[in-house]
């Protein structure tokens, strides 16, 4: 039995890559839900962004323009979600469901119209993709025992969006817990009436939160189509938005915990791709389906409150009515 193989560098390396879109989407959801707006449309926003980033990158050859297009597309859906759930005080969950379907349908429809390749974009080459960044001295330090390969393989050699995602964790923490804006944003998710009494616009704050959510989902989607893979294919998010939602609950709506939760779920995805390693390490076969379902099962267990209770922001899901 080779237990250490479970933590092989190649597995950990793909963990980081697979965790990145989850982390970005999870932080996106964190902003929205901390402000009291439930968002089960993370999946749809990521998918929309994945398509538009790949499409624009394919047409212009510039991955940066692609990224911008992805963010813009995701924010457009955020706008719909805000309009429905903030302005018109509609049901946030139903709006999220609608956004997921809208993205699932529109991406294929537009892809077919623009590229005629059965709902996908052309494969991205050259400047159309985010290339891995080799950090300084990665090659020369490779010879250093233990730390050298970790630096060269695990830390270096990812696309820039991976580092953006990792930096977004302290960024989110700082913004939410060390700034006045963050205090108000959290307050609006717990007790909007109090924020309103203090003379701060509940609607404005919530729209900003939903907007930030759109930006982060946009980056997540762009990373999927232009970093992790080379182009858009139908339904390429494959439930990642919901895993991110699960991670958000797992993390109990806290930024650093979101990092650990998404790394855990990323690891589960990475190890599911290597059944040979699991069998070698544990001595028996683990069903792939069990590994697929594990993030969801873990989330249900957390939700059930058996491992510490997950308490969502108190005003989450409720539209704010200024005067009755």
């Amino acid at each position: 039995m080779d237990f250490l193989a479970l933590f092989d560098l190649s597995v950990l390396d793909s963990t980081v890559r697979l965790a990145t879109p989850l982390l970005l989407a999870c932080l996106a959801g964190l902003f929205s839900e901390r402000a009291g707006i439930f968002d089960i449309g993370l999946e749809g926003k990521m998918l929309f962004a994945a398509f538009f980033s790949a499409a624009v990158a394919a047409m212009t050859g510039s991955v940066w323009l692609g990224l911008l297009a992805g963010i813009a597309a995701s924010m457009a859906l955020s706008g719909i979600h805000g309009l429905a759930s903030i302005t018109f005080r509609g049901n946030q969950l139903i709006s999220g469901v609608a956004i997921n379907f809208l993205a699932a349908g529109m991406t294929v429809l537009i892809a077919q119209d623009w590229f005629q390749q059965g709902g996908r974009t052309p494969s991205l080459i050259g400047g159309g993709r985010f290339e891995p960044i080799i950090l300084p001295f990665a090659e020369s330090l490779r010879g250093v025992p233990f730390l050298g390969p970790i630096y060269a393989e695990l830390i270096s050699g990812h696309s820039i969006l991976v580092y953006v995602a990792l930096l977004a964790v302290p960024g989110t923490w700082w913004l939410l817990f060390r700034t006045r804006f963050g205090l108000r944003l959290r307050a609006v998710g717990e007790n909007p009436a109090a924020v309103d009494t203090a003379g701060v616009s509940v609607v404005g704050l919530r729209f900003v939160a939903v907007g930030i959510c759109g930006i982060l989902c946009g980056i997540a989607g762009a990373y999927l189509a232009t970093g992790l893979q080379a182009g858009f294919v139908k339904d390429m998010t494959a439930g990642r938005g919901f895993i991110a939602l699960a991670a958000l609950i797992f993390a109990k709506w806290r930024p650093w915990h979101a990092l650990w939760a998404t790394l855990l779920f990323g690891y589960l995805q990475a190890i599911a791709l290597r059944p040979d390693i699991i069998e070698g390490a544990l001595g028996f076969r683990v069903q792939v389906q069990l590994l697929d379902a594990l993030p969801y099962i873990l989330t249900v267990v957390i939700l059930a409150g058996f491992v510490g209770k997950a308490i969502p922001p108190r005003a989450g899901g409720e539209p704010y009515v200024k005067e009755r």
Binding site: L93, I94, S95, F101, A104, G105, D113, Q116, G119, L303
Partner: protein, 372 residues
Amino acid sequence: MDVMPKWAEVILVPLISLILAALLSALVILAIGENPVEAVNLMVTGAVGSTYGWGYTLYYATNFMFTGLAVSVAFHAGLFNIGGEGQAMLGGLGVALVLLFIPWPHWTIALLAATAGAAVFGALWAAIPAYLQAKRGSHIVITTIMFNFIAAAVLNYMLVNQLRPAGSMDPATERFREAVHLPSLHEMLAPIGINFSKAAPANVSLVIAIIACVLVWLLIWRTPLGLEIRSYGKSGRAAKYAGIGAVRITMIAMLISGALAGMMAINNVMGEAERLVLNAVEGAGFIGIAVALMGRSHPFGVFLAAILFGFLYQGGAELALWTSIPRELIVVIQALVILFTGALDNMVRMPLERIFLAARNARTSKSVEPAE
């Protein structure tokens, strides 16, 4: 609250939402360079222009009646069951187990047993999220979403590792026995002289679905339990004062909801495929949300909305066949219907309420005038 007359509430608001959704869909079709009028013509001839088209439309509608009713019953209790998809998958498993392992002599008994199997499996799959909501306060929307994914994994495991016949590469069960073949509409209507298409999959489950609509109506509006479910859905706190147990109603409503979603399997698994395949549900569980919203959670509304969505599904398939419009157009239409009839409901309602209020004020002030 009651600013609008009942007819406006029940007919006008959904109708305007539907028109908005249709207009936007037409814009989408225009934007991808096709003619919306031609597209509608194609859909109408494809879906209701022949008994073949009707057979498919009604087949899809049967699925959507079950899932739409499932979402509606939960809505009445103030619960949002997004888990119809997973419950219908498990319902399929129930049907397959009942039909594969017991040699039924005749389809009638087999149908009863399969319906029970589907309902029990669907209800059980809804029971855990329901219990967690009722007892532990875990949000039912999140748990039912998670259970959809877990259901997909369970079904995948059962088909790939357990139920797949030896030597077959296809993740599906073997075909059910000939004796449990459900009569199609062709076979049912031929004796009374109607020549219904032989190739269409609509079958006797449609009758069961219609019976289910009636039974749900009776349950919700004509029984004490229905009253309890509706009161709990309107105000959990008021219901509590009236002595209605939150745990009990949550459990019962979700079990019924899950059972209804599961029962869809008698149509798609027993009636159409006659074996259990991996993607048997094909999103029908989610369409149930659109159907319930459009049908205003009323069984008759669900019945009509299910037929409309059946029409859209079959029409969309024909559209994909004859034009370059992909089938995903239906997903977009479905999204727009959910958006306008569900999330943006107030956008339609608020201006309408203002109009009705103004009209009423004008009327009352006029009738008061002569007295002065």
